[in-house]
């Protein structure tokens, strides 16, 4: 099964719910979908087509928060990334995929902590990386978060 | 006499030298160079002279500082009595075996009380283990100890035990002697807290368990007491089982010294060959096989073998 057959079987299966498919090379392909269809598509790719779930990564694009789920097919050696764009940056929501694969549990906790994206249905979104005294509502990997510059030149910095 | 010859200075330095031999042999086994000979002395001097002694808040000061002194005095007294009865002075008094055994039990108890008083739960866990390991090895220790006494006609004087052995061959020669010697070796391994049974101050685990709160002079005194113990206990074994160290002629002295070194080497080898044993396993081990061999040896001794 090479990358074109895989893309074809996904687009046949989901038809209009796939917004755009861009095949960058024989090894990489990106797909845009609506955030609400994420669970069905992930279940189809992970369970039926037996891809391996690499990781999910969120990007603070200027026109919204993108959450990209990367799946790799090891037999044929290519990676398909499914991208969901969350336009509402103040209160971003997306369904959790932890029932499909338990490996997504940690990455959802991390994205929730660093980007502030709510994963509906994931009951355990405790902080994973940041210290407990981290002010809530501050998301370090958002573009609007600027690392406070420490001017250590002055004597006795804070 | 107490302070100089057999007492603090001599046994202290001897203990430190043996401690160094132990560190050097362990290093050799791991292809490492190991510390220079004066290392233990420097460590001790540093602790005693220059390090600040910290006393944690809310600690019974008298207890906390008193315990190291108690341990040191008990250990020194034990080694003095042992050596004086052993050397050419032969000035032992009736029942000095019991006194020596009792005094040798004092330092671990002092250590334990010090650890309990230091209100640090790591220390209390270590101290409770020390208590358990003491319970474990005291029974077989006393049983094994009674064999030389029984064999030398119920003599409670170190001098008589030595005379008996000089006249009719070392206690270790007999069946019961060998058995009780074996049991004794394990007991002193635990008494000195060497590796297989050193869970009270398990260094990787409870981070120096019982010693955890001690620093500076108090820690130095405790270490000195321990090194005197390391010197005194094998000496006790030599007197009880192999006819004492010095009894006049230089040949005897060399023989005694060789036996002494043999015992120390045995202990170090045991220390380096196996991993640390958990405290409840140690107890089962002591109450089980070791106590059995000790009891067996006493029966054999009574029947005269």
């Amino acid at each position: 099964m090479n990358i074109d057959e895989a893309l074809k079987s996904i687009t046949d299966r989901f038809g209009s719910r796939i917004l755009a498919v861009s095949r960058r090379s024989v090894k990489r392909a990106y797909m845009d979908i609506y955030p609400k269809d994420i669970v069905d598509i992930v279940r189809y790719i992970f369970k039926d087509m037996a891809f391996r779930f690499n990781i999910a990564s969120a990007v603070d694009d200027f026109d919204g928060l993108e959450v990209i789920y990367h799946f790799s097919n090891d037999a044929a050696g290519f990676v398909i990334s499914v991208r969901a764009l969350l336009k509402d940056k103040t209160d971003p929501h997306i369904d959790t995929i932890t029932e499909v694969t338990r490996s997504a549990w940690w990455i959802e906790r991390e994205i929730h902590e660093l980007f502030g994206i709510e994963f509906d249905g994931n009951k355990d979104l405790r902080p994973l990386l940041l210290p407990d005294d981290w002010p809530s509502g501050v998301y370090p990997l958002r573009k609007n978060f600027v690392v406070p510059k420490r001017d250590s030149r002055k004597e006795g910095a804070e | 006499m107490f302070l100089v010859f057999p007492g603090l200075i001599f046994s202290g330095t001897a203990g430190l030298v043996i401690g160094w031999v132990d560190r050097k042999v362990t290093a050799m086994l791991q292809w490492r160079v190991g510390p220079p000979w004066y290392q233990n002395f420097l460590d001790l001097a540093k602790l005693l002279l220059y390090k600040e002694t910290l006393i944690p808040k809310g600690v019974a000061k008298g207890y906390f500082l008193g315990m190291p002194l108690l341990a040191l005095s008990a250990a020194t007294l034990a080694s003095t009595v042992l050596l004086s009865a052993n050397g050419s002075l032969r000035t032992g008094f009736l029942g000095d075996v019991i006194v020596v055994v009792y005094l040798l039990m004092m330092p671990p108890i002092a250590l334990m009380l010090g650890a309990f008083s230091s209100t640090n739960t790591l220390a209390t866990v270590g101290a409770s283990r020390e208590m358990k390991s003491m319970l474990a090895y005291e029974l077989p220790f006393l049983l094994a100890l009674s064999v030389p006494i029984v064999k030398s006609g119920y003599a409670l004087k170190l001098g008589d035990i030595i005379n008996y052995q000089v006249s009719s061959g070392a206690v270790i020669g007999s069946w019961s002697g060998v058995l009780s010697f074996l049991a004794m070796i394990f007991c002193i391994q635990a008494k000195l807290g060497f590796v297989p049974f050193d869970s009270p101050e398990a260094e990787t685990e409870l981070m120096a368990g019982v010693y955890i709160e001690y620093s500076g002079k108090a820690l130095g005194i405790f270490k000195l007491a321990k090194s005197i113990m390391i010197f005194a206990v094998p000496a006790l074994i030599v007197t009880l089982y192999c006819g004492g160290i010095g009894s006049g002629s230089p040949v005897d002295f060399i023989k005694g010294a060789l036996e002494y070194i043999a015992i120390v080497v045995i202990m170090i080898l045991i220390k380096n060959t196996n991993p640390r044993v958990r405290i409840d396993q140690a107890m089962r081990f002591f109450w089980g096989p070791v106590a059995f061999t000790a009891a067996l040896s006493v029966i054999l001794a009574l029947m005269g073998y």
Partner: protein, 395 residues
Amino acid sequence: MSHKAHVPIGPYHPLQEEPEFYKLVVDGEKVVDVDVRIGYNHRGIEKISESKNFDQSIFIVERICGICSSSHPIACVQAIEDIADIPVPERALYIRTINQELERIHSHLLWLGLAGHFLGYNTVFMWSWKYRELICDIMETVTGNRQNYAMLKVGGVRRDIEKEHVPYILSRLDELLPKLDMLKGAVLDDPVIHARLKGVGVLTKEAAIDYATLGPVARASGVDIDVRRDHPYAAYDRVKWNVITREEGDVFAKTVVRILEMYESASIIRQCLDKMPQGPIDSNPKDVPAGEGIGLAEAPRGECFHYIKSDGTNSPMRHKIRAPTYMNFPTFRETVIGETISDATIILAGIDPCYCCTERMLIVDTKDKDIMNVEKLIKLSQEKTARLKEKMGIK
């Protein structure tokens, strides 16, 4: 042991320096539940990398984890090359492979030493770390530093392997292989280790797939994945080597996979050294257009995943990094529940999280509240070995 002692998490307790903090809830000897709290080691690398340009971020990526400091840069460099389709000269591919495989041996030897230490075999610990120095010597001559090699660069490699280095590397490898056989014999033919590791912490194939595990952990459970063969990069498709898999999925299988992988790495290095063509080692690309790129590399512990999105400027807009242990960690929960606490350390070591992570365990005993820390755990596992030794009559 009915005493109720709470080991405090005091300031000077070794526990507080760990990147991970495990809480094993035990009932007597059995492990009932595991909770993990990481974050002590979080340095916000992804945010830093956004303020650095592409060349600088490679240096940061190297310092994510001390013992896979050639896998992350390769993945990161390949992600950037994926964005801009930058050609990489042939010789540079071979040098990358050599660098990666040398590091695999060095990391597996380190792991072997640690596993030996947890089982109470301090001689294995001393041995493997002693022979690991051979690899560090090679690294020092070729790249100048024992770890953090800074060999990688977008579009090629920073330093060439000169002709006089080749005999040096080969002689060191020849020196290493007999020692490796000795270590293999000491570990794999030892009945006590069989008793200690066989059937312990079994990860079934289905669980391995569901948890998307990677590297030796997955290969030991029969999941036949290896980035070097599936997504071939550097010079792995130009040399002959085979992927080692086992079916049992227990800690023993993981040990076997790692040890045999060391032999494969040695043979890969040898093939690369004599197949390496002469030629340039850097195609020095000028700029990186806007776009996205994914880079994969097979670290000693599994697949490193780097996703870089660039907006045309010379610093990445987003740089997502995922270390292999990130996916393997949760399997610890799966494999340790139901096992005894004395096996907990060795099961965790089986996953081979980066070195300082294995120091971080705390056991809360439901019944009598006796919390034990990790050194006691190590001791427990060392005693179990001692008991097995006695039972088998070997001293």
